[in-house]
């Protein structure tokens, strides 16, 4: 079963990455088809594995400040900044809807 345009659109929103062309969509279709092979495996009673180190305790260090004060270095790599702020364009403006966006999906 093919992935619906609604889901494709939803994915573009979530990922903030575009499919670019029909090849991109095909790629996803093939990826899903490939992943479906997982369902051949019987995993009854199996717990999901997050990490191979699950039997150990992660290291937690003391809540002490040991380094920092590197504002200058950190800001150096940003393109847009004002004083010690990273500058972002206005937020809370959702991506235009499918019909209004410049996306390949419009044609589908």
């Amino acid at each position: 079963q093919k992935v619906s345009v609604e889901v494709l659109d939803h994915l573009e929103h979530l990922a903030l990455v575009d499919f670019r062309d029909s090849e991109g969509v095909e790629r996803l279709q093939k990826a899903i088809q490939f992943a479906d092979q997982l369902h051949e495996v019987n995993t009854d009673g199996m717990e999901p594995m997050d990490s191979v180190l699950e039997d150990r305790c992660l290291y937690l260090r003391e809540d002490d400040v040991t380094e920092g004060n590197c504002t200058k270095e950190l800001l150096e790599n940003a393109r847009e900044k004002v004083e010690e702020y990273f500058v972002a364009p206005p937020g809370n403006i959702p991506l235009p809807k499918l019909e209004e966006r410049e996306t390949f999906l419009q044609g589908s």
Binding site: L16, P48, I93
Partner: protein
């Protein structure tokens, strides 16, 4: 014994005795990098800083106070490790021009030992790929394409055939690092290994590629692909050198809480002579579809080698091997979707001119910065993580992961010490042939023998074994128990000694030969 030492002149000893100086060594390597530029192994060559490091090393040797075996030894680092003051690009437009403010822990550790950082090596974009062909700086060429061994075996279709057109790939994604070590431009290189990215190019380039146990070496500063599987990888020309580098890198790092807290003691590898107490497992599922008859024969020969030397060689089964690629596909894309979310243009890296809204700026930045492969994985990953798919795909894959990891546990519990498998399905493919299939298909095919070790977090190593009929390297893989690197490397070293893998005969390299160069040709620096 004296003859053996003579065959592998030791750079560290040479440095200590003053037979060669760190600056000479550094200059030779830099010159060689220039003359082998066509390999495209390096993205950035840090000539000035390298020479400075070499000078400082020379001072220490003059005072008789070298920092250790690695002092003054030229190394290269894959371009997905952060290096302070040196561009780190991950072979992507997203990080072009990004100069990191800090060193990855493994880089810092090498520098603390006095190693000379020559530059950053080429890779597939964001380490996604198995050919080192998909980065924005172009593909890496396998040095063996230019070896006498390969040229002798290749039959040109016509006299005018461009010798350029039948060069072979390095494998990937740490192809630049493998090529750099293989072509003698450095003595060791760092790679990364998530699905085989260190072992695969090591096999194709005829070098040793070590994937350590997950949790042994710090990932702090390694730009992450799959947090639960990534490890820094070590590429060298011989097993002893890999042990030396491992010794300087392993151990708990407070900056990476996924490194284990056990004390790590660097070790020297014993010269194993008696393998009669060793039990070698041959997993039958690694006789995978597509495995070349040549490699199958080599694998068989290796098993016999162990048997004839008195080791116990048994066939074992890892029944879920064939699902490791599918499992990896889901877990990898899911973790990638999460890890790539940090690239939004705001704090570092490429930023689009689009300024209408935060979201549209992010979308445009990512549209401009990522190649098809990366975007494809992000979108797939997001699909598998959708609420309606989470249980069906992501959780399911995590359960399959446990099955795969348990397969290994069962086998090692049954008395097997080490597993012997092929590393790749065939020798290196010509570039023009390789690019006929897309990245995901290739990765699927090529990762099949290496991926499961990442799934289970186990240490694994590629040891160059022999040349194929086409005159190209073929390697075999050993997989060991968790945190038993010493045993793994000891066996690998024994095997390396038995097979006597031939040295690459590169014409470009011999042209520059002089007294100093003999140290570069040598297999080891330790």
């Amino acid at each position: 014994a004296a003859l053996k030492e003579g065959l592998r002149s030791q750079v560290s000893a040479a440095l200590k005795e003053g037979r060669v100086t760190p600056t000479e060594l550094c200059q030779r390597c830099l010159a060689l990098i220039k003359s082998t530029k066509f390999l495209n192994a390096y993205i950035t060559v840090a000539e000035e800083t390298a020479l400075k490091q070499a000078e400082e090393s020379e001072e220490r040797y003059k005072r008789g106070q070298p920092l250790g075996v690695l002092d003054g030894v030229p190394i290269a680092v894959k371009d997905n490790f952060n290096t302070a003051g040196i561009e780190t690009t991950c072979a992507s437009n997203m990080l072009r021009g990004y100069v990191s403010p800090y060193n990855a822990t493994v880089v810092q550790k090498l520098l603390n030992q006095g190693a000379v950082l020559l530059g950053k090596t080429n890779l597939d974009e964001f380490a996604m790929g198995s050919g080192s062909t998909d980065g924005v700086f172009g593909p890496v060429r396998n040095p063996w394409s230019y070896s006498r061994q390969y040229k002798e075996k290749s039959v040109p279709k016509s006299h005018s055939e461009d010798k350029e057109s039948n060069w072979v790939i390095t494998g990937g994604s740490s192809g630049g690092s493998a090529a750099a070590v293989s072509s003698f431009t450095c003595f060791a290189a760092l790679g990364s290994d998530t699905g085989g990215s260190t072992r695969n190019p090591a096999a194709h380039c005829g070098v040793v590629g070590l994937k350590p146990t997950y949790g042994l070496i710090s990932r702090h500063g390694l730009i992450p692909l799959v947090n639960s599987m990534d490890v820094p990888g070590i590429l060298t020309r011989c097993v002893d050198d890999a042990a030396v580098v491992l010794g300087s890198l392993a151990g708990h790092d407070p900056k990476d809480s996924t490194t284990i807290q056990d004390d790590f003691k660097p070790f020297e590898l014993p010269n194993l002579t008696d393998v009669s107490k060793l039990s070698v497992g041959i997993p039958k599922e690694y006789h995978a579809p597509g495995l070349s008859s040549e490699i199958l024969a080599l694998w068989s020969k290796a098993a016999d080698l162990f048997k004839n030397a008195g080791a116990k060689v048994v066939e074992v089964s890892l029944p879920h091997t064939r699902y490791s690629i599918v499992c990896y596909h889901v877990l990898c894309t899911a973790e990638v979707a999460s890890n790539m979310a940090r690239f939004d243009g705001l704090e570092y890296g490429h930023r689009s001119d689009m300024n209408e809204s935060t979201e549209s700026m992010y979308a445009a930045t990512r549209r401009e910065g990522f190649n098809d492969v990366v975007r494809g994985r992000i979108l797939s990953g997001n699909y598998f993580l959708l609420k309606q798919n989470y249980e069906k795909y992501f959780i399911k894959a995590q359960k399959v992961r446990r099955l795969i990891a348990n397969d290994f546990v069962k086998v090692f519990r049954s008395g097997v010490d080490i597993l012997l498998t092929p590393t790749t399905l065939s020798d290196a493919a010509p570039y023009l042939e390789f690019i006929q299939e897309d990245n995901r298909t290739r990765s699927t095919q090529d990762d099949i023998l290496t991926q499961a070790a990442n799934m289970a977090g186990l240490p694994a190593i590629n040891v160059p074994t022999a040349l194929s009929e086409r005159g190209l390297p073929v390697g075999l893989q050993f997989i060991g128990r968790s945190f038993q690197e010493k045993q793994l490397l000891t066996v690998a070293k024994w095997f390396e000694k038995q097979v006597q893998f031939p040295m690459i005969q590169l014409e470009e390299v011999t042209r520059h030969d002089n007294g100093v160069f003999q140290y570069q040709k040598s297999a080891s620096f330790s």
